[in-house]
């Protein structure tokens, strides 16, 4: 058997006390598109960051074309012919395509000036190779998302790349753009370049990849060829999640009470249109859709972060303006936004100060804050929600993602919210902590709180929700009960292939 293009053997990496990689082997052949699959925190990124020279391993050997190498820096990685296309593209929008392609490696004429003509010619050559017609002088900012990906791929080819790592390249692309990107990827791999394709979308993986490696908790749980018998989406999903968590039943049926939140005809230009739904007491309502569905914007509006252009919101039967988050909180709403670090955590504050932030008013014994009461209440939440921290005075940044998310939940529970909107609540959280969040959501609902969970992970909906709303381009296209909410059905509504008449009551 010929030696592989890339072989990583027994890779180990620890971050402080947490094991990120526990003896991982990874093998990549020339010209293959290799799917690297796993949940967040499974170790995919760490493994690829080692390859990209961003993270140094604690142990293990790397061979490129049979030769043992050390990858000490991103530059060393690039010299070995490895290119890494990150999820957030690394392009300068205000520069032309050719300027982006040659950024940092500009061609010069003999006089030392930039050789624009030569760079444009080379850019056209590469774009032709990718079967893409683009003017090299076009500004990157004007391109749509899939063409931006293509420019990144072009830049990789320019650097005579042998191994191309693509981290969730399709996450912000439309269906049409994905098809286009896949065409380019096939043509690149046809020329002998190996592509590592990191993705959560199993359907895409089965349609474009040749080989797969599944990781879980820092170890490889399976690898092989997608053409092998018995390998399908379901099989991969099972490997990814692991029997232990996949088989746990978080869901418990509950009595769902009268409607507590009723939204009618809510509209906001270019974001969502004529959205109506209602949420019952003790209900867990899932809201899902693909990128561009408008669900985040919708609930930013419900929480008063953004104004609406039309529509009414009633809480416990009383119409509310929801003109600001302050008003929304007064109405009994709580909101755990997506991108916790940017939107929900005050990083310079302690756990305690984060917990009491939204309810500080009630801790004031004028004119001062009653620190002792603050301490007592936050310590109570730490215990009730099983937040792993030895002292509430420790900075919030000392906590893991899952525990930070629990702090955000504690903040709203302390603020007395009885309607909780959770946008992407398990983002960047490891498997074990995810399970705790699911249990917590169930427990809160059982205690009478009404909860809206926004997520793009369909299995997550199945784990906790009573009912699922599916959105497509700012409209609700499906309203499914728990038993109706199968993956294929949700996808039909989410892609706009189907749209149902549905009642707006719970």
């Amino acid at each position: 058997m010929a030696e592989p293009l890339l072989l990583m053997k027994n890779m180990k990496k620890r971050f402080e006390s947490q094991v990120a990689l526990d003896g991982v082997d990874f093998r990549l052949e020339r010209g293959e598109i290799h799917a690297l699959i796993g949940e967040n925190g499974a170790g995919k990124s760490t493994l690829m960051n080692i390859l990209g020279g961003i993270v140094a391993p604690n142990d293990g050997e790397i061979f490129v074309q049979g030769r043992k190498v050390a990858i000490a820096s991103p530059v060393a990685s690039r010299r070995l012919g490895i290119s890494f296309i990150h999820q957030e593209l690394n392009l300068v929008n205000d520069l032309a395509i050719y300027e982006n392609m040659f950024l940092g490696e500009e061609l010069r004429t003999w006089s030392g000036f930039l050789d624009e003509r030569a760079m444009c010619a080379r850019t056209t050559e590469i774009l032709d190779q990718l079967d893409v017609k683009l003017d090299p002088r076009e500004l990157v900012g004007k391109l749509d998302a899939s063409y931006k990906q293509v420019v990144e791929i072009g830049r990789a080819l320019l650097r005579s790349t042998q191994i191309l790592i693509m981290d969730e390249p399709t996450s912000s692309l439309t269906e049409h753009e994905i098809t286009h990107l896949f065409k380019v990827m096939r043509s690149v791999s046809g020329n002998g370049v190996a592509i590592v394709f990191i993705s959560h979308k199993l359907k895409e993986i089965t349609s474009i990849c040749h080989a797969y490696t599944v990781m879980r908790d820092g170890a490889v749980v399976a690898n092989g060829n997608l053409a092998d018998p018995g390998v399908d989406e379901e099989y991969l999903a099972g490997l990814m999640v692991g029997k232990d968590i996949a088989s746990i039943h978080f869901y418990e049926p509950r009595e769902i009470g009268e409607p507590v939140l009723e939204v009618e005809g809510l509209s906001r230009k270019r974001e969502f249109e004529q959205v109506s739904f209602s949420l019952g007491r003790g209900e867990i309502l899932g809201v899902t859709g693909l990128i561009g569905d408008g669900r985040t914007e919708l609930f930013e509006c419900v929480f008063g972060d953004k104004p609406r252009q039309a529509g009414r919101i009633r809480v416990h039967g009383v119409e509310r303006s929801m003109a600001s988050p302050t008003k929304a909180q007064a109405a009994g709403l709580g909101y755990a936004p997506r991108n916790r670090k940017e939107n929900a955590i005050v990083k310079d504050f302690s756990v305690r100060d984060n917990i009491t932030l939204a309810s500080l008013r009630q801790f004031v014994r004028w004119p001062f804050i009653d620190s002792a009461q603050e301490q007592r209440h936050s310590a109570g939440h730490v215990q009730a929600l099983n937040i792993k921290v030895s002292d509430v005075a420790l900075p919030i940044t000392a906590l893991s993602g899952g525990n930070q998310q629990k702090v955000v939940l504690a903040k709203w529970i302390e603020a007395g919210a009885d309607i909780l909107i959770l946008d992407n609540p398990t983002q960047g959280i490891d498997v074990g902590a995810k399970a705790e969040i699911y249990r917590l959501i169930q427990a809160l609902a059982k205690a009478g709180k009404s909860i809206i969970v926004l997520t793009s992970e369909i299995p997550e909906l199945r784990k906790v929700c009573d009912r699922v709303l599916v959105m497509y381009h700012g409209r609700i296209t499906g309203n499914l009960t728990r038993s109706e909410a199968t993956e294929s059905r949700i996808m039909m509504y989410a892609t706009g292939a189907a749209s149902a008449e549905f009642n707006t009551t719970a």
Partner: protein, 324 residues
């Protein structure tokens, strides 16, 4: 690391964090001690004398008062360049009202109201108008200075009643009044920043404005109140300054005060991008600046070089604090 090890590390960490919290999260007190020791060694006969120390405190009290407000503004992630010019116009208005009504209390009330009003305008432009603080207060700085020059016809104004000068020119136990004012305001502002809801919100806004907004806090209100508080401190400073001199000059009063105040805040370890810092740090930052000026004078260094020393200290203190 085993479990016990982790716990020990957390405990050790906590001890350090208590100490560093006392230091206002930075090494400014250490720097202060070093500078005091160096100064005493370099100028043993004159530096550590009671009159000299009282003198230093008196000299820094006006900038110090302004710097207290500036600290909170910078903690919210803002800046106020208008403080020096605002001091002129507030001072001028105070004396004008007093001269015309003969009522000192009315004059003082005018000062406080105007200071707060200028802060309110700053805050409103910044929040409602969404103008960056630097630009908004730069505009306010130019406007206030120019209005001051216009109203005072390029000159100055003196208080007719000599009673006014009693506010800042007396001594108690050999220490001039402005020192007491500065100390008292420092204590009040320290408690305000640590113990009140608004103080907490100011830190929150500077650390993560978006998260604060989404925690149902009216961020615009917090910011506007911060500039108003800054304006109030400017008004106190204006009263102390004009009372000391019994007059105000449109051209020279308050000039470069914004730079000195910002310098003191930075030396005091407050993060320029907001969210972190302390009033106590600023207190020591102000004293460090005062001691440096004092030492330059004692050692007979050209006053023209004072700016160089100040500049170096600012840069060094930021370089040191980067590691905090």
């Amino acid at each position: 690391m085993n479990r016990v090890g982790v716990l020990d590390a957390i405990k050790a960490n906590r001890k350090i964090s208590l100490v560093s919290r006392f230091l206002g999260g930075n090494s400014v007190i250490l720097a202060f001690v070093v500078i005091v020791v160096l100064s005493s060694l370099m100028s043993p006969d004159s530096f550590l004398t009671k009159p000299n120390i009282i003198n230093i405190f008196r000299q820094v009290s006006i900038i110090g008062t302004i710097a207290l407000g500036m600290t909170m503004i910078i903690i919210t992630g803002g800046i106020d360049l208008s403080v020096g010019s605002a001091l002129v116009i507030v001072g001028a208005a105070t004396i004008f009202v007093m001269n015309h009504t003969g009522n000192m209390l009315l004059g003082l009330a005018t000062a406080l109201a105007m200071g707060v009003f200028i802060g309110f305008i700053n805050g409103t432009i910044i929040t409602r108008g969404r103008v960056t603080p630097f630009i908004a207060t730069l505009g306010m700085m130019a406007t206030c200075r120019s209005l001051g020059l216009y109203l005072l016809d390029g000159g100055g104004i003196s208080a007719r009643s000599s009673n006014y000068s009693l506010i800042a020119n007396g001594r108690l136990f050999g220490v001039s009044y402005p020192v007491y004012y500065f100390m008292a305001l420092t204590a009040i502002m320290y408690i305000f920043s640590r113990k009140t809801r608004l103080g907490r919100y100011m830190y929150a806004v500077g650390s993560n404005e978006r998260a604060t907004h989404l925690s149902a806090i009216n961020v615009n209100r917090v910011k506007t109140l911060t500039y108003m508080l800054g304006g109030l401190m400017v008004a106190f400073a204006a009263i102390i300054e004009t009372s000391r001199l019994n007059s105000v000059s449109a051209a020279s009063s308050g000039s470069n005060y914004e730079l000195d105040a910002i310098a003191a805040v930075i030396i005091g370890g407050t993060r320029m991008s907001g969210g972190k810092g302390s009033v106590l740090g600023t207190f020591f930052g102000v004293l460090i600046l005062g001691i440096l000026n004092n030492m330059l004078t004692l050692m007979g260094v050209s006053p023209f070089l004072a700016g160089t020393v100040k500049g170096l200290i600012i840069i060094i203190s930021v370089l040191v604090q980067k590691n905090d």
